[in-house]
């Protein structure tokens, strides 16, 4: 039921967002490629939200030692990793016409790449540990320490000289489009997270039953 509601909300919002991005929002000085930002920025913010959920769920696991928190953390980390991959790729596609290069070792870009690598490591470690409790413990520690990079990514543009644009005074139509796009990707995140979490909980139950039957 919840999933159906989230699917409906995400679909309606996505249609509204597409209309606003391509028709409603005015063209800025950067030209047509600036429209990439209506999806690039929400992808980045939702990736940060996903990793914040990982951070909180990891703390809860270490505190309560309840495996459901590990399911929360790993499901959110997976969706966050997908969103991080997409914001890195869309940023790179935007950079080529704007900066003339696909990639540069700018502080914002480098810290974002490190964030992606941290959560790749999170899943590599999970795949190497078969014992449930140990896997949850190790990945919780990475989930907590890894989150430190999120505020670093956010503040890099204020700490170091960077080519990455800052969000400054915007046309109200640009702001409205960006807000709708953020709402769309938030709904999409909750939809994917709910789907993955339901699946993860079933996987865990099945694995426990399988282990019981093999005894």
């Amino acid at each position: 039921m919840k999933i159906k509601i989230l699917l409906g909300v995400s679909t309606v919002l996505m249609l509204v967002a597409l209309y606003m991005v391509f028709i409603f929002a005015p063209e800025t000085e950067s030209g047509v490629v600036q429209r990439i930002f209506y999806f690039h920025i929400p992808l980045a913010w939702i990736a940060f939200l996903a990793f914040f959920v990982v951070f909180v769920a990891s703390i809860m696991y270490l505190w309560k030692r309840d495996i459901k928190w590990d399911a929360f953390a790993s499901s959110s980390a997976e969706v966050g990793l997908v969103f991080t991959t997409l914001f890195l790729l869309t940023g790179s596609i935007w950079a080529k016409p704007e900066w003339g290069v696909w990639w540069t070792w700018d502080s914002r870009l480098t810290s974002s790449l490190i964030l992606w690598l941290i959560y790749i490591a999170y899943f590599i470690i999970r795949s190497y540990i078969s014992e449930e409790g140990q896997r949850a413990r190790f990945s919780s520690v990475i989930g907590i320490i890894g989150f430190i990079d999120v505020p670093i990514v956010v503040i890099t543009i204020f700490l170091w000289r960077t080519a990455h644009p800052r969000i400054e005074a915007m046309d109200p139509r640009v702001t409205a489009t960006l807000m709708v796009s953020i709402a769309t990707f938030t709904a999409l995140y909750f939809l994917l997270f709910a789907l993955r979490l339901a699946m993860k909980q079933d996987e865990d139950k099945l694995n426990r039953l399988k282990a019981f039957l093999r005894r």
């Binding site: 047509v32 429209r35 997908v82 997409l86 869309t90 080529k96 994917l192 099945l206 039957l213």
Partner: protein, 47 residues
């Protein structure tokens, strides 16, 4: 590639990425169903 091409590429990447992820989830769901069927069979045999 002109600027419209870059815009197209960015949106293609987003949709391709999301659809690939949903496809992976669907395959995992299928594997889960197969495991449930296996479990049911095993339980039937043990009864």
């Amino acid at each position: 590639m002109d600027n419209l091409g870059y815009l197209f590429a960015a949106f293609a990447v987003i949709w391709a990425g999301l659809f690939t992820y949903i496809l992976v989830l669907t395959q995992k769901q299928r594997q889960l169903r197969r495991d449930i069927d296996w479990l049911k069979e095993t339980l039937k045999k043990s009864e």
